[in-house]
Assembly symmetry: C2
Homo-oligomer: 463 residues x 2
Amino acid sequence: MISPSPDRLGLLTDLYELTMAAAYFESGKSQDVATFELSVRTLPPQRSFLLSAGLEQAVEYFQNFSFQADEIDFLRKHSAFEGASPAFFEFLAQLRFTGTLWAVPEGTVVFAEEPLLRVTAPIVEAQIAETYLLAMLTYQTTVATKTARIVQAAAGRGVVEFGTRRAHGPQAGLLAARASYIGGCMGTSNTLAGFELGIPIYGTTAHSWTMSFEDEEESFRRFAEIYGPKTVLLIDTYDPAEGVRKALHLGLPFRGVRLDSGDFLENSRQVRKILDEGGRPDAQILASSDLNEYAIQTLVENNAPIDLFGVGTELVTSRDAPALSGVYKLTEIESGGRVRYTAKFSESKISYPGKKQVYRFSGPEGEYTRDVLGLASEDFPEAEGLLTPVLENGKRLSPPPLLEKIRERAAKNLSRLPENFRRLEDSDTFPVEKSASLQNLLEEVRSRYTLLPTGAGSKEKSS
Amino acid sequence: MISPSPDRLGLLTDLYELTMAAAYFESGKSQDVATFELSVRTLPPQRSFLLSAGLEQAVEYFQNFSFQADEIDFLRKHSAFEGASPAFFEFLAQLRFTGTLWAVPEGTVVFAEEPLLRVTAPIVEAQIAETYLLAMLTYQTTVATKTARIVQAAAGRGVVEFGTRRAHGPQAGLLAARASYIGGCMGTSNTLAGFELGIPIYGTTAHSWTMSFEDEEESFRRFAEIYGPKTVLLIDTYDPAEGVRKALHLGLPFRGVRLDSGDFLENSRQVRKILDEGGRPDAQILASSDLNEYAIQTLVENNAPIDLFGVGTELVTSRDAPALSGVYKLTEIESGGRVRYTAKFSESKISYPGKKQVYRFSGPEGEYTRDVLGLASEDFPEAEGLLTPVLENGKRLSPPPLLEKIRERAAKNLSRLPENFRRLEDSDTFPVEKSASLQNLLEEVRSRYTLLPTGAGSKEKSS
């Protein structure tokens, strides 16, 4: 098929995960049980919350993860693995995921430093997964979050995801279709997302359809004859006002028209007027072209007569914040029955030790009030623990949730986040505290590294 | 495998491509031969040139493109296709790419409005390909271009691509590894890119390796014992100065150290000094963490003693310009032996008619001086035509070029672009003129649309 193909899961990882795997093995540590947590270090300045997405693909990764013979052969012959013994490659050939996965369900509102998932497994299994998990979770979370903002700005008008062509490759287009559906889009233009995931698919016509006819009106007539009242006509190939007049002149049913260029406020008003005067107050207007949450907000505030927004580039690339600082950190390790908590103290990249849980507190109306990031062993009876078990001994604990249910959870979660914490700009920061136990554990771990008595040490040196 | 999977090529397209396909078929136009061209409408403000990449995957798409029975079944039952006849679905089942593809070779410097590829084929075959081609070409071109800027900033020091974890999904990570190698990276951390594409792969260790040991020095010792003089030690888990002292204290061979946080200028100087005083002036320093062309340029200008840069997020997401305005436009259509040239006049989205060629002129030293965007039928004997034939009757005309050769072409192309046209900031605009014949053809097409006598027409209405 198309090369390079992303379906060789064992090798779809950074080389150092595999050289470390060999080193763990050669050091007799391959049966140490490690816990890693995936979180976003800080939110981009343009974001006040995240909407989690991508867990289902992470679960599929764990369930399908293995090394094929030709892949192991490649590693065996690669100079990077000269230090590894033949036994390591036999170990790799048998390697499957046998561990435990806890995760925040998809469609959950989360914040910086809160684990989206927690993997507890023999260290090699948990280590190798880092690269794939980060790419899958952070991208879908990026898109679901951006979608939530766009859908919020649309204030009840429909938003359709039109972005595959501008996504970072074809798979990104598919993943964006999924994540944007979770985030609140009514559907996607991506046909394969309809086939594989059951997401509603939508489409109109392109300029090429119109241009393939000598006469624009003829192009409209042919399409409306074939597709009847489902037809949405693209009217701006030459001039939108003339385009909509031609559509009305046909005397054929059509559902609506699409504007793909120009000043949407001005043009939508003009087109609406022509449609209304032409006896089609029911005909919808769809606008698409470089839309984002800010542009949509302005159009909505100005009562632009637009019924549907088609959003592509800005949504699938999350253009203003195309990456999240996703990290996957070792938080504890169990070796020979003894647990050791781990943290790192690199400048502005501290990680917190121990298996954690996100404790979410709500007010009387169900509104989210604050989170406590604490140890999994703590107990906050009034709070909901966001992380729940998904895999045990490598096996799913329950069937995958329906995408529709995930989408409903997302809408519900967003509605429970008070408006002041999800404004498009100048939003308040949702309060996330670290529990006293977590803080104490960090200091305990820190005290083990006597060469660096306080976190200020390295900062002073480099300031 | 992991769902959604991007390997069902027929459906990996926008729904409207397929509803238009049905409408072309039902309108008796399916044997009309269309020419579409893919180009970038305008360069992002942060870019003064593009480095083309992704063609090989476009070719593979055309060679593998087809619809499977279950996919056709999905379409047949979908309400969007109620207007299509049974004959259309039989037609789809037989559909293969039988057309002609001309393209700019990968690793070529190109500018706005210049076609990266030109497809001439029965209109359905050419139309459906739009979505996939745009996603594949524009993403790889985005990354190759960003890489060229980063490598230029590094001024001869090595750059390794470390970004899969921050890419827009796993496939984007692989595509980024490929495109960044074309753009001048010395290799990637992505193991699968090594396996599938033969790209050199690199890795060091992660903080988790160090943290999995009680003692940092012990973690260094174990790694160096296994990997010997290839070892690159990550020294900033707790404190970089202490880290490098521990590395020296081992008395074991290691190749270098990695810094992944903090002030790189300050820290690299300190670490260099410690290494030199410790008798290891040959040990290399690798820096990674949120690097881009601007940060690298500053480090290089300040003579930071950094030998290698690991670049991830900024490169694979092209963070400052994560999308290109890629378009795929119908430029002519042949029906019943008669050719008609097509253009669109949407506000600020004009497209130019006719099969085009990019004519590149060079000076006496081989330096690029200007381009003329003209009709393919024109003749500029002193210029090089950038578009060359790749597929004819759906068949490859020559074997795929080696990735190494593409990478060499990229380096050569970049060296021929005078420095003033590729400055990181405030670059001059490379001169691209439209030929008189092309301009005349546009006006001829425009004159057919008498309702809109000049391009100014629709602009006035919306201003």
